[in-house]
Structure formats: structure tokens, C-alpha cells
Symmetry: C2
Subunit: 128 residues, 2 copies
């Protein structure tokens, strides 16, 4: 009975699609990241909200706090040219990228060390 053709979702529609709980979605709203339409008591989500949720989850994957993602979302929502906000977001993206670079480094080293460890262990076994 969902009207998904018209891009209207109930809260559990969204929860299913993004594999999160309705509790999480309501929480994001309480934190000011979502502001769905209401039909009486019930929340109605449109495509815009769908997009916003996508932003939220992408932010989470990058390790952003909800407060940080909120800034990004507000920027998009405003439709205005808030240069200061834009810079702030850009910096965050840059930080994330640098963090990623460091992590790639860490992964490489870890793999090398794991191999070395294996080699050592095997040598000890061979010598016994």
C-alpha cells in the first residue's frame, strides 16, 4: 500500500530500504537531520528525505558525527551560497580523505607484518 511510485514512503519503507531501524530514523529527525511531512500523526517521507538519509548513512560510513552530517544537509537544504559552510564541509571531506590515506598505509603495513610473522612462525616449525 506504499505509494513508492510517487516517491512517498512510510517510516518502515525507509527502514527496510536502508536496512536500519525506525528508531534510528526518528532519532535522526530528533537531531534535526530530517523533517518529514506529517499526515495527522504519521510521518510521510518524500524523495528529498530519501536523499537526505542517503547522505546521513554515507556520512556515518565516513565516520562523521550526526552533527557534522547535519551541516552538510543544511547546506544542501538551504539552496544558498553559504561560503563559510561550504568551506567547512570541504575541509571535512578533505580530512576524511587524509584519514583514508593513513588507513591505507596502515593496512599495507599490517599485511606485511602479518606475512613476516607467518614466515617466522614457519621457520620455527621447520627447525623443530
Amino acid at each position: 500500500m506504499n505509494n513508492e511510485k510517487n516517491n512517498i514512503y512510510t517510516i518502515s519503507d525507509l527502514a527496510q530500504r536502508f536496512d536500519i531501524t525506525t528508531r534510528a530514523i526518528r532519532f535522526y529527525e530528533s537531531e534535526g537531520l530530517l523533517s518529514p511531512e506529517r499526515e495527522g500523526q504519521k510521518r510521510l517521507y518524500h524523495h528529498k528525505d530519501f536523499i537526505t538519509l542517503k547522505l546521513i548513512l554515507r556520512g556515518k560510513r565516513l565516520g562523521w558525527s550526526l552533527a557534522e552530517s547535519r551541516e552538510l544537509i543544511q547546506m544542501y537544504d538551504s539552496g544558498k551560497n553559504n561560503q563559510q559552510q561550504y568551506q567547512k564541509v570541504l575541509e571535512k571531506v578533505q580530512e576524511s580523505r587524509e584519514r583514508l590515506q593513513q588507513q591505507l598505509n596502515d593496512i599495507e603495513i599490517m599485511l606485511v607484518e602479518l606475512e613476516e610473522h607467518e614466515d617466522r612462525v614457519k621457520q620455527v616449525l621447520a627447525a623443530s
Copy 2:
């Protein structure tokens, strides 16, 4: 008075070198990730502990829990060939790598969308 030439560190030596608090170091010990020598009440850290701390912090950067890093450390400490533990660690590294790939993807998309947003905003400004 630190005997760093002989690779002996006090707790605050380590804290300084890794830019963490002594509280954190003691906490890692209480979680079974470190087991420094004692001289009376005082903790004495050797090169081995230095290495372990490096592992801990690397794990943290990769988003590992302390419990996860503990497994890695135990594997190295044992010096044995625990194939099961080795596989578990290898899987974790693999997971981290996949997560990184997803994040790289996210970053790219985010940058593209930010540019698009800028373009839209500028067009609106130009039309007014």
C-alpha cells in the same frame, strides 16, 4: 632520567611519544593489551610494549575495537602458529580494506555532489 637508550620507558615517556594520556595506557593494560614489567609499584615499558602500543593505535585508526586488537597482539605474543587466530585477523584486515574501498567511493561521490551543488548555486546567483 629516562633510560630510553636501553629501550626502557616510563608510562609518561610512552604517553608523550604517542601523544596519548597515561590513563589510556593504563586502560589498555586493564583490558589485557599490555603487561609491562613492574619495579615495585611502577610500570616499566620495554621495546616490546612500544611495539604493542603501535599496534593498538594502528588498530584504532582502522576502527578496530580494543578487543579486536587484543587478538592481533596475542597472536604476535604467543609466537605460535594458531592458524585459526591468524585467519580471524586476516579476515579483519580484509574487512577493513573493503570498508576503505567503500569509503573511497563515498568520498568521490561526495566531492562530485558538492561540485554540482556549487554549480547550481552559482547558476541561481547568475540568474538573479
